[in-house]
Point group: C2
Chain length 170, copies 2
DNA sequence: ATTAACCAGTTGCAAAATACAAGCAGTTGA
DNA sequence: TCAACTGCTTGTATTTTGCAACTGGTTAAT
């Protein structure tokens, strides 16, 4: 199970886990898109991951401790994938990736809005979001007293998308 | 030159540039190890990159705008690779990667000390470090009035390494 | 002037990872 | 009863990676 590592450098070890073109895409979709089932991840991904690659990445991420796999009690064939604490703590990393990409790469407006909000909110917002993810993925008991960061991010995305579509329809 | 992108998502676009097992290793060695020549990157890398992969990554990173390649005036065959502003702004991302790796993966003590200092210093330290990198890679005029973050990181690494070697020698 | 060490890569080949399309046994809801 | 859906698997073609040897040229010491 324990493969040989190239080195004990923190950056290298992180790359050995996440340094490929799909692992973080899968985590992003579970985290920001709340996609919890295989077919959701397969079909609703903007990037179009192949089913065998998705299966392999889910297996790897479960083995590495980033995802937790369990049966869906409501449907004998469904499987639920959840983030572990290890994956939830990738929020700052993903926020930085989004911020950097937005600064230097040709991002699309509607997909960049979440990255913009995360960057502007800074670490306090990331902490709130991580706490929500813990509720959603680790406990399952939502706290209704706080406005949801997840919903704010999703709403902002929907809004930009709707605005763009309205503009395109004219 | 412009390949088709999988999507306009900032995280996806960042992964299309950096989402492999070597690109960020190369940038890390230039950034934290001040390795500026091909042979330095090839031989002093803890991970042992192959020469053809290194050549390919350097070419790609120059094409993507993360590195700048120029002849070394002191030696007709030497080439100097420098970080561009785009790469310098990866400092927060690399700091988060280091922090996450240190928390969850089996890092070695001497290689983790830099990540620890960067995490504890937080964004203000990152800004100082980025400013030093700009001097080192973009202008070439050091500012002697400030204590160097680069030197602090390097000294901390040397110290831990020396301590470990002394302990091992007993 | 010779020569050994050094320079940034390149070449050829095997192995591994990735991508694409089709298919599977079982489950569910109409 | 049956069409749609469930999480995958299989087979095959293509691309990427890894390893080792090698290249044409430069430099520094003898």
């Amino acid at each position: 199970m324990d493969e040989a590592h190239r080195s004990g450098c923190p950056i290298n070890l992180t790359l050995e886990v996440l340094g490929d073109r799909w692992s973080l895409i899968v985590i992003r979709d579970i985290m920001f898109g709340n996609r919890r089932h295989f077919r959701e991840l397969l079909q609703k991904s903007d990037e179009g991951i192949a089913s065998n690659i998705l299966a392999d990445r889910l297996k790897r991420l479960v083995e590495k401790g980033l995802l937790y796999r369990e049966d869906d009690p409501s449907h004998k064939q469904k499987t639920i994938y959840s983030l572990t604490e290890m994956a939830i703590q990738l929020v700052p990393l993903l926020a930085e990736m989004g911020a950097w990409g937005r600064r230097f790469l040709p991002v699309s407006e509607e997909l960049a809005i979440r990255a913009e909000l995360l960057e502007k909110g800074g670490r306090p917002l990331w902490e709130d979001f991580m706490e929500e993810l813990r509720v959603l993925h680790l406990h399952g008991e939502p706290d209704p007293s706080k406005p949801s960061v997840f919903e704010r991010l999703t709403a902002a995305y929907q809004e930009v998308l709707a605005r763009k579509q309205a503009a395109a329809a004219e």
